[in-house]
Amino acid sequence: MSVRIHVRVNGVDYHHDVEPRTLLVQYLRDTLRLTGTHIGCDTSSCGACTIHVNGKAAKSCTMLAVQADGCEITTIEGLSNGIELHPLQEGFRECHGLQCGFCTPGMIMTAADLLQHNPNPGESDIRHALEGNFCRCTGYHNIVKSVQYAAEKMQAVQQNKKEVAA
Amino acid sequence: MQLNGKHTVNAAPSVIWKMLMDTDVLAKIVPGISRLEKTGDNTYKSILDIKLGPVNSSFTGNLQMEDISEEKGFALKVQQHSKIGNANAAIKIDLLPLGENQTEIQFDGQAKMTGLLASMGQRVMGGVSATLTKQFFANLEKELDKQ
């Protein structure tokens, strides 16, 4: 039994028939070939598959594709416009927040969720927010710095906008 | 995994013994049994449907009674297979008379898990065994009440 779904991924509409058991991450990777979202575990623990569903961070391995029907999805591929980097992407590069890169897309998507709610997080806020994302390479030190970098940059942009408006 | 405990029921050992040796009754007492078939002297083929929280699986296998000492006790050997792993148990069951119409049922043994049951189930295994034991004795009491 297949189920018809409609999703909007990174601004593009898709209609597909999917098996109900297809996980959202498998749909993104196998059907849409958006392979930036990774699978690192089978217990919903590691966070490598984190994306945004309707603007909120979700583990796409713990959601069925059919559950995403009608949803707006953003993956790492859609985080920036393709030319300019998102401040988090820039932060991870500037602060050496990644090594092998496998956890990075999920890490960035989770951090993006944090910065939506808390534009000025402290170190412990960042560490707590990332508890659902494992990184085996960096020891998290530079990931924390990357998120701090992005937060500062985004705040500066906001400030700038305000000043321009004023 | 260690399985041990005791439970006192208000019936003489002879009554309990009869129940444990009766396939039909046993099928009602052992938690999760959906089929129990006698395949020989003291051996049974069983299908168990275990539904406990995250685990919901069908187990097929054998139950065997050994070292039978009439109205006193026996050793129960259980071998169960499922897609999520196998479970083998060896449990010594003793019936101790406590006065006229009272018996203490003691059990002591070990269960071995394999596969996902072993690698994923540690967090819940203690609870599984405690719950299955509770259910067993609750079912036993229920059957006793009927008799």
Binding site: H38, G82, Q89, H96, G101, E123, L130, F134, T138 | M120
Partner: protein, 791 residues
């Protein structure tokens, strides 16, 4: 050759990052080939079982199934080999049982593969694998390395009596060491377990193999740290197919930490199967499978005695270790507990007598092999725990005790290297320097005061120190060959100057997080005096790169980088000839500096780009010179490199619960010259997290039946962001005297020094409250620490 334009030593941002942060990395599981099929395995749920029958009929009838193979189908194929042959003390070769691609008679550990099911989709393969019926007869299992050697233990392999793969010793004669220990004023003794670690690279292993009949060529995409080595082992030892017909590609690889060095059965099986079915076959491990199958690390049971004279000088060290190898011999399994462990037992100390004795044991568990640090963390843990415990027992300061016993500084140039009692000769070192810097950064004296005050207020603060030395860039080939290595340990570096002066560099090292595309490019740009963006680093493809030994043992820059430098030197030498011709000067008068060839004492010069173009458009060209500017070099180092450092942990232990809070972590590492400080620091950070993880969180637990009882992230505790403070790191530079870059290697350092530092800190905290415990088993869970406080 001097630094020409300053790329070396700069924290250049990584060039590889752009693809990773935008989701454009290309990992093996991202690759889908035309007509792709997918594999799933039928694996033994028992640690030790006879296979009575395998019935694939129901599975074969399942939707989408393409093929099913069992052990019988590959019975004629060789098993995967071990790369390092050791011998028993009596001279007999180690026991080397076959590690088959699929088992036929017996499964020897949980997860041993019985059959492979190949289907049109991963889901169909999984569904069908579930209905393959295997009848097992369970056999008794052994899991503990010591118990496995005792009488009556069941045998993993019938031809390995007492489950012993080999026994091995190194150092001074045991009688001398026994006598020195006996004559010591104080002996500190520790019996402990260096527990089994699961490497847990976040990318699970994945393979995708294909075969093209028309050209008789195979391609294997594999999540490996060393594609050429996999090709060599798979072609020459397992499948017997010619290497030139096999292309092995290690694309982007999501972390390895050792676990992706080894040649795994699935790599060879998929390569065998793709030809059988004529379609590409892909398999990606689930995390549950990773826990059961990716070579684990450590797992030593050790008793060690360290003797001290009345002045606190170490007199002798005696070590007896049982090393668990698991059910089979993994690629480097035999050398890890021996040549990578025993040879490091000198540590940083002048210990005059050392003997180490290792018994390597088979058990019904996952194979054990190199995991970040490989042998060196085991040696360091042992030494640094002993020294710190001795300080507590002798009521002396652990800093003082170390300083008293350190080998004096030596640069390896004006002063000779340091000859240890355990075969190695250290290249250069300044051990006092790192410890001094470490305690300065920490504010050691103040912290000791704070600890006393805390203790008076019922709070348990602990300071744990560890120093370490490691051996990286294992070499030279002749030496490792004499010790049993079945391969050379050089590296290949090809530098191809394109006609426009742009540079393509082909390295046999493989990057899976280390940032070679940046660091190596820095070296090349620096040496040629050109912009970094003019340099491209190519790695990981056996068809692009001539040959290579891959990346492990912190060898990439020291060995791989040096090979590149050799090729750069050849290019500059040839470039000088071309430049001399162009400038009408004699070759001896041409200098190469800042990207220009100049004639000494004149203002005549020609640019690097001009020389490159001339080499490819040789219209006006020296007569006796070949066109082109492209050199390949094989660099075989003269010695290992010996990074060292000092790690210090500060912990607070919750009195009521035993929970350990890591408050601070200071690391001073000396990894020789540094090409990119940002990357080195990142490597240290990652190592620290793994080392601290071993001390506090991680460890694989097998029950007595050989079942891995914490085979998932729900039970195996992975360190997370909120488990750590910010790390306080610094470096000291003592260049390596024997390679052209003066580098030593930084990949493993963090994982080596940190583990004993944390354990020492917890023990120190407990002593501060009067709990004189010698050891707490790792990982130091809250319960274990709490129990230690109850005794």
């Amino acid at each position: 050759m001097s630094t020409t334009n300053g790329w070396i030593g700069k924290s250049v941002k990584r060039v590889e990052d752009k693809r990773f942060i935008t989701g454009k990395g290309n990992y093996t599981d991202d690759i889908v080939l035309p007509h792709q099929t997918y594999a799933s395995f039928v694996r033994s749920p028992y640690a030790h079982a006879r296979i009575l029958s395998v019935d694939t009929s129901a599975a074969a009838a399942m939707p989408g199934v393409v093929a099913i193979f069992t052990g019988k189908d590959v019975a004629e194929v060789n098993g995967v080999p071990c790369g390092w042959l050791l011998h028993f003390k009596n001279g007999d070769p180690m026991k080397e049982p076959k590690h088959p691609l699929l088992v036929t008679d017996k499964a020897l550990h949980v997860g041993d593969a019985v059959a492979i099911v190949i289907a049109e989709s991963a889901a169909e393969a999984k569904d069908a694998a579930e209905v393959v019926m295997v009848d097992y007869e369970e056999l008794p299992a052994v899991t503990d390395a010591f118990k496995a050697t005792q009488a009556g233990a069941s045998l993993v392999h019938d031809d390995a009596p007492n489950n012993i793969c080999f026994d091995w010793t190194l150092g001074n004669p045991i009688e001398e060491v026994d006598a020195a220990i006996a004559a010591s004023a104080h002996v500190t003794t520790l019996e402990f377990v260096n527990q089994r670690m699961v490497p847990n690279a976040i990318e699970p292993r994945a393979y995708n193999s294909s075969y093209e009949a028309s050209t008789d060529k195979y391609t294997l995409y594999t999540s490996t740290q060393n594609p050429h080595l996999i090709r060599l082992l798979m072609c020459a030892f397992v499948l017997g197919i010619p290497e030139h017909k096999v292309r092995v590609v290690g694309p982007d690889v999501g972390g390895g930490f050792g676990s992706k060095i080894f040649h795994y059965t699935e790599e060879a099986l998929l390569t065998w199967a793709t030809r059988k079915i004529g379609r590409p076959v892909k398999w990606t491990s689930t995390r549950s499978e990773s826990f059961l199958l990716d070579a684990h690390g450590r797992d030593h049971i050790t008793k060690a005695d360290m003797g001290f004279d009345k002045d606190g000088k170490i007199t002798a060290l005696r070590v007896k270790t049982y090393a668990n190898l698991g059910a089979y011999l993994s690629t480097f399994a035999s050398c890890v507990p021996t040549y990578l462990h025993g040879t490091l037992l000198q540590g940083l100390y002048t210990t005059p007598k050392i003997n180490v004795d290792v018994t390597a044991v088979f058990t019904n568990t996952c194979v054990v092999d190199a995991y970040r640090g490989a042998g060196r963390p085991e040696a360091t843990y042992l030494l640094e725990r002993l020294v710190d415990l001795a300080a507590l027992e002798l009521n002396t300061d652990p800093v003082e005790l170390r300083m008293k016993n350190f080998i004096p500084p030596f640069d390896g140039i004006t002063q000779p290297g340091y000859q240890t009692q355990v075969a190695l000769q250290y290249d250069s070192g300044n051990y006092q320097g790192v410890l001094k810097k470490g305690i300065e950064m920490l504010g050691y004296a103040d912290l000791r005061k704070a600890q006393k005050e805390a203790a008076a207020n019922g709070r348990l603060l602990g300071i744990g120190i560890s120093t370490y030395i490691e051996a990286c860039g294992i070499a030279p080939s002749a030496v490792v060959g004499s010790l049993g290595a079945r391969a050379g340990l050089y590296e290949v570096g090809q530098v191809r100057i394109q006609p426009t002066g742009k540079v393509s560099v082909y390295t046999g090292a493989h990057s899976h997080g280390q940032g070679h595309e940046t660091t190596f490019a820095q070296v090349v740009a620096d040496k040629f005096g050109i912009p970094m963006e003019d340099v491209e680093i190519i790695h990981g493809d056996s068809e692009a790169v001539a040959f290579g030994m891959g990346t492990y043992g912190s060898r990439s820059l020291a060995v791989g980088g040096s090979a590149i430098v050799k090729s750069i030197e050849k290019i500059i030498e040839k470039g000088k000839k071309i430049a001399a011709h162009k400038l009408e000067a004699s070759e001896g008068d041409v200098n190469f500096e800042n990207g220009k060839f100049t004639v000494k004492g004149t203002d005549k010069s020609v640019s690097f780009g001009d020389v490159a173009l001339t080499a490819y458009v040789p219209h006006h060209y020296p007569k006796d010179l070949e066109p082109g500017l492209d050199f390949s070099s094989f660099y075989d180092p003269a010695n290992f490199t010996y990074p060292f450092g000092c790690h210090i942990a500060v912990v607070e232990v919750e009195k009521e619960t035993g929970k350990v809070h890591l408050k601070r972590f200071v690391a001073v590492d000396d990894v020789g010259n540094i090409i990119n400080p940002m990357i080195v620091e990142g490597q240290i950070h990652g190592g620290l997290a793994q080392g601290i993880g071993q001390a506090l969180f991680e460890g694989a637990d097998y029950d007595e039946n050989g079942q891995l009882t914490n085979g998932s992230y729900m039970d195996y505790c992975m360190p997370r962001a909120d488990d750590f403070p910010m790390f306080e790191t610094a470096s000291q530079v003592t260049p390596c005297p024997h390679n052209p870059l003066g580098v030593k290697g930084a990949g493993e350092a963090g994982a080596i020094g940190s583990t004993p530092a944390v354990v020492n800190a917890v023990i120190d905290a407990l002593w501060s409250a009067g709990h004189k415990v010698k050891d707490i088993r790792m990982p130091m869970t809250s319960e274990r620490v709490w129990r230690a406080m109850q005794s």
